[in-house]
Symmetry: C2
Subunit: 130 residues, 2 copies
DNA sequence: TTTGACCTTCCCCTTAAGGGAAGGTTTAAA
DNA sequence: TTTAAACCTTCCCTTAAGGGGAAGGTCAAA
């Protein structure tokens, strides 16, 4: 299978497939005589795993580890769970940050007329005179 | 005032002050004979505004516009509110994405023993066999 | 005059994804 | 048989916001 076909089947575009190879996320593809990368069904499977992990927000570093654990049929599930829990905590931290921003912003926006007049609580809020 | 002093007063480090100048976020600083950037109290004020806007998650593009509106004493507050509302919507979108990830991840993690055994619902969840 | 704390510019790195150029290959149709 | 489209290759550039560190110039105090 050429890269275009595996891209279609895995829903990961060719550009990213080459990138993942370069990053060592997936193993180096074999090549045809002309130098074209050659893939198997299994490669599609791996790429789908990567895609799914990305959709859940895992970093490339995490994904590299997850794939290695995925391949190792005797891994302790604790290692997988550790990665996942760490990621969950990071996402929760991000969420809290966003919620805090939203709290402030909504409060400011609520008090802003949003019309032709120049007085603006939003700008006043940004202009903190510590 | 040299850049170090203004950095201290605005709590924006020198590196970023130069960067903001380069990006046109703040105006080009005057120079001393030796080529050192020179700042006034007002520059500190502007940098604090930038910092505050960054803390609320505004992009540099937004901040550029916000500063220009801030300076324009006859701006219509609607323009400010538009920028803020757009940003609020983006943050809400991000939050929804993170919440969706967290929902899935927590569910998977909950069912993972996280011990020495190899069976792992987290890996199974990533390994979707569409 | 030396030393240390400043300042300057310049280039590199991070993250994840992708645009686009220049050029080689394959396939199918005219 | 030639040609055109659709692939493929590598290489470099861009995004966003922040920073590290080098090499070298400046300033102030001891």
């Amino acid at each position: 299978m050429n890269i275009g076909e595996v891209a279609k089947q895995s829903d990961v575009n060719s550009k990213m497939i080459r990138r993942y190879e370069e990053l060592g996320i997936i193993s180096k593809a074999g090549r045809s005589l002309a130098g074209y990368r050659q893939y198997s069904e299994n490669d599609v499977h791996v790429l789908r795993f990567v895609k799914r992990a990305r959709e859940l927000g895992f970093s490339m570093k995490d994904i590299k580890q997850l794939i290695s654990l995925w391949r190792n049929k005797s891994r302790p599930s604790s290692q997988v769970k550790n990665i996942a829990m760490k990621h969950i905590m990071e996402l929760e931290k991000k969420m809290a940050e966003i919620q805090s921003m939203l709290g402030t912003l909504k409060n400011l926006a609520e008090h802003c007329h949003g019309d032709q007049r120049p007085d603006c609580p939003i700008l006043d809020g940004l202009d903190c005179h510590k």
